[in-house]
C-alpha cells in the first residue's frame, strides 16, 4: 500500500491515477451497490433513449438524419439476429440481442471516448459500466435465461433431450456447457474492457502524451468488437436452443 500511495503522490497528472477494485458504495438496506457503475450506466441508457426518441420523433417514409442512422443500426442488429437465429424465429429476439449490442457498445465506447475520470466522485472513478464484473455477469446470466426460455418455449420439456444428444455419454459435457457459456461471455467482456482501460491508464502513467493514442484507438476497436461478439454469441446460443437436433428441418 505504501508503494501505491507513494506512486500516486508523485503523480503530476491527476488524470493518470490508477484505481482498480475500489468502488463507490451506495447502501440500500442491507445491500451494497456500486455507484460508479450505475451512474455511467444511466448515462448510457440516457444516450440510447435520447437517440431512439430523436430517431422516431418524426418518422418519414424517406429517412434522413437520425432516423436514417438508427435504421441503419436496426438493420445491422436484425441481420445479426437473422444470421444467428434464422429467418423464421429471429423477430421476437431482436430487442434482446439489439439491446445487448447497443448497451455494451455504447458503454464500451463511453468508457473509451469520454474522460470520465475528470468527474470526481467520493471513491473510485467513473468508467465504462462493462468494466465491472457485476454488469457483465448480469448480462451473461440474462443471456443464459434467454436461451433456456427460448428452448423450453419452443420444445417444452423436449428441450432437455438435447443434453443426451448425440449420445448420453456427452451428458456431463452438455451440462458443463451451460456453465461455461455465461462464464466465458462475462469474463471475455469484463477482461477485455478492464484490460484495455488498464493498459491505457498504465501507459498514461508512464508517458502522458501521444504514446497512449494508438492503444486508445485499438481500445475503440476492441470495444466495438466485444459488443459485436457478445451480441452474436448470445444470438447464436438462442438460435442453437431454438434449432434443436431431433426435428431439424433441412431446407
Amino acid at each position: 500500500m505504501d508503494i501505491l500511495t507513494g506512486f500516486t503522490a508523485t503523480q503530476v497528472f491527476p488524470l493518470a491515477e490508477l484505481e482498480v477494485g475500489k468502488h463507490f458504495y451506495w447502501q440500500i438496506g442491507n445491500f451494497n451497490l456500486h455507484g460508479q457503475v450505475f451512474l455511467t450506466s444511466w448515462f448510457v441508457i440516457l444516450v440510447l433513449v435520447i437517440a431512439s426518441l430523436l430517431a422516431t420523433r418524426n418518422l418519414q417514409q424517406v429517412p434522413g438524419g437520425m432516423q436514417n442512422f438508427m435504421e441503419y443500426a436496426l438493420e445491422f442488429i436484425r441481420n445479426l439476429a437473422k444470421d444467428q437465429i434464422g429467418e423464421k424465429e429471429y423477430r421476437p429476439w431482436v430487442p434482446f440481442v439489439g439491446t445487448l449490442f447497443l448497451f455494451i457498445f455504447v458503454a464500451n465506447w463511453s468508457g473509451a471516448l469520454i474522460p470520465w475520470k475528470v468527474l470526481r466522485i467520493p471513491a473510485s472513478e467513473l468508467a465504462a459500466p462493462t468494466n465491472d464484473i457485476n454488469t457483465t455477469v448480469a448480462l451473461a446470466l440474462l443471456t443464459s435465461l434467454a436461451y433456456f426460455y427460448a428452448g423450453f418455449r419452443k420444445r417444452g420439456l423436449g428441450y432437455l433431450a438435447k443434453y443426451i444428444e448425440p449420445t448420453p455419454i456427452l451428458l456431463p459435457i452438455n451440462i458443463l456447457e451451460d456453465f461455461t457459456k455465461p462464464l466465458s461471455l462475462s469474463f471475455r467482456l469484463f477482461g477485455n474492457i478492464l484490460a484495455d482501460e488498464l493498459v491505457v491508464a498504465v501507459l498514461v502513467l508512464l508517458v502522458p502524451l501521444f504514446v497512449p493514442l494508438p492503444v486508445m484507438a485499438l481500445g475503440l476497436f476492441t470495444s466495438a468488437i466485444q459488443a459485436l461478439i457478445f451480441a452474436t454469441l448470445a444470438a447464436a446460443y438462442i438460435g442453437e436452443a431454438l434449432e434443436g437436433h431431433g426435428e431439424e428441418e433441412h431446407e
Binding site: G21, N32, L33, H34, F38, P95, N134, L139, L141, L142
Partner: protein, 161 residues
Amino acid sequence: MTLWTILLAAEAAGESGGLFDFDATLPLMAVQFLLLMVVLNALFYKPLGRAIDERIDYVRGKLADERERRDKATAIATQYEQALIDVRREAQATIAQAQADAQQTITTEVQQAQQTVQQQRETAAREIEEQKAQAYQALEGDVEALSRQILEKLLGPELVK
C-alpha cells in the same frame, strides 16, 4: 509492472472491494437492462421496425404495380403493332386489287377499241372494194359504149352489129 499486479492481487483479496466484488449491483443491473430492453422496444425497435417493414411493403407493392403496368403497356403496344400490320396488309391488298382492276379495264378497253378499229377498217375496205367494182363495171360499160361508137364512126353503123 509486477508491482502493480501484486498490488492488484492484494487488493482483490481484501475484505471489501476488489475486482470480483459481487453484490446487489448484479441483479439490479439485470433488472435495469430488462427495463432498458422494454423501453427501447417501445421507443426504437417497434416503431422503426414498422417503418422499415412498411417501406419494404410499399416499395414491393409499387414495384409489382409498375411491373403490371409495364406488362399491360407492352401488351397494348404489341396489339397496336399487330393492328398496324393488319391494316397495312389490307391497304396493300386493296391497292393491288385496284391496280389489277385498272389493268383489267385497260386491257378490255384496248381490245374493244382495237376490235372496233379492225371492224371499221374492214367495212371501209369492203366498201372501197365494192365501189371499185362498181366503178370498174361502170367504166367497162362506158368502154364498151365508147368502143362501139368508135367502131361505128370508123366502120359505119351498118357494119357494126
